[in-house]
């Protein structure tokens, strides 16, 4: 289909320059003296994040401070971006724990499947967005870093509206 160009007839009897400039100046002046400004003073003021916000991960810990993860291997399996590296280990009592748990946050697509699939409610996405680093390597979060994070975790769904209606 050919592109059709609409040539709008200018209503020439309504054309004005000086008067419309003056009314335009009034409009801008009203905005200038209007004390309401939309700028958010960022480091001091921040957005309130939705409970469903999916940001960089956080690993929850038990009371003793150890990671809740039991190295079941569900999250690396379900991860569509293949960004979780997990090497399971086992202590003398037969409890499994992760020897190595790394998430490459550059590969992560923040789908939230790892949190959804986790039987121990260990790995979570975070309600967090300030992720600047000085190197690319710093974006591979290891277990120590994941457990050290303190930001609130994602709910994945809004508790007030669980079916997202």
């Amino acid at each position: 289909m050919a592109i059709r160009v609409t040539v709008v007839e200018r209503p020439i009897e309504h054309v004005s320059y000086i008067r419309s400039t003056l009314s335009g100046l009034m409009t801008t002046f009203k905005h200038m003296v209007d004390p309401h400004k939309v700028t958010m003073q960022y480091p001091e003021e921040r957005w309130e994040l939705s409970p469903r916000w999916r940001g960089t991960h956080r690993m929850l810990t038990t009371e003793s401070g150890k990671a809740k993860c039991v190295a079941c291997g569900l999250c690396p399996t379900v991860c569509p971006a293949n960004c979780i590296k997990l090497v399971p280990g086992e202590d003398e009592e037969g409890n499994r724990f992760p020897l190595l748990f790394e998430i490459d946050e550059f590969r992560c697509i923040f789908c939230g499947y790892c949190q959804e699939v986790c039987p121990e409610e260990a790995i979570h996405l975070g309600r967090h967005y300030e992720n600047a680093e000085f190197s690319r390597e710093a974006f591979i979060y290891d277990l120590e870093r994941l457990t050290a994070q303190t930001h609130p975790v994602s709910e994945l769904w809004d508790p007030a509206d669980p079916k997202s209606e």
Binding site: V5, V7, I18, T21
Partner: protein
Amino acid sequence: MSALPVLPALAVDLAAWFPRHDPQLPPDSVYTFALASSIKLLVVFTLYMLGVALLTLAERKVSAWIQDRRGPNRAGPFGLLQPVADGIKNLMKEEVRPGNADKWMFIIAPMLAFIPAMLVWAVLPLATPLPTPWGLIDMAVATLPIGYLFMLAVSSLGVYGMVLAGWSSNNKYSLLGSLRSSAQMVSYEIALGMSTIPVLLLAGNVSLHAIIDQQAHMGWNVFSLSVAWFIFLVAAFAETNRLPFDLPEAEAELVAGYHTEYSGMKFSMFFIAEYANMATMSGLMAALFFGGWDIPFTDWDNTGPYTVFKTVATLAMFAAKTGAFLFLFMWVRWTLPRFRYDQLMTLGWGIMLPLALGYILVIATATLALDWMGVPRDWRFSVSLLGLNVVLTGLLLAWGDRGKLVSPASARLDARELARRRARSTVAPSTAMGAPTARTLATAAAGAHDVTEEIH
């Protein structure tokens, strides 16, 4: 030890160089004159540069407020140190010079853009003369008897900087920008000059001092010459390349216009030059139409004897007027979109110039008539002219500003005109297959109504 006997001798010499003089009379001594001029030069230059730097901040603040934002507020209190930060950044930046650029022209152009704007301030009377123990010091850097002519001559030099910048960059967008700027400046320079002729008619002198004195005694020119002020205002916007006439640097079409290839401090010079030009035009507008340093509704400021307080008060008044116009420049910039190039030219040559010429005629006739009727040259003269201006402004708004498009002769034809031309077969029939000739284009224009209706 040997320095001490020299000191009194030096002091005696200094006293002889700068003799005491009646504070109400200009100094006789050449040395006093030279020293006073040097000090004025330094002070005006410093304040001017400082003001221009602050103007860049003011522009950003005003634009932010108009757009419901806050503007720079991180560097220093209220962002007052932002110009310093910008200056340091620009000095530290790498200066890129295109390989095929004309080296010396490329370097000279930013200076040429900046210097003429500053030169005009040399002749602007900033306040009433300052009485000092060494004589009465005039508050203009150079008290030129032909200040007005100097101003016209110098302000038109500003275009050289832009033309050279565009040409030496060896870049087609820069060149287009500078060509536009030269065409624009030449066009509006005429309207600008013509709009100030009525001022000269009233003052009867080309000295800026005389022009201000006349306004101090007769009332400001903006009331007696409102239309001339309007023309001057529009031309000033065009002369300073500010929106709605910032075609030389139209970002959407020309990247950044004449200063596309400039970086670092050289770019900053162009930036400063723009604000310097604004300040100059604002100062001129204050001097020519708003009474310069004259404080309204009072007479004490324009009659002797001169005091320091008078100087300070009138200086503040002049600064306030200039500042008000600077704000107007910014306010308009963040209100209006850009004119199209053909509209700009039509406005300049087709409307502003005839308007200015006609106004000269009207004012000359009115002055002659009022003189003939014996109206004295004081407030009565101004009120009579004001009455005339009210009528003219009413006409301008009601008739001149209604139903008229600023567009050139080559604009889209209306249907009747198109039919007439087609009947006279001035529109050539299509000759080559597929080539969009005048006829096919005309048909398309005529069919535009149908298309519009179809979509509705």
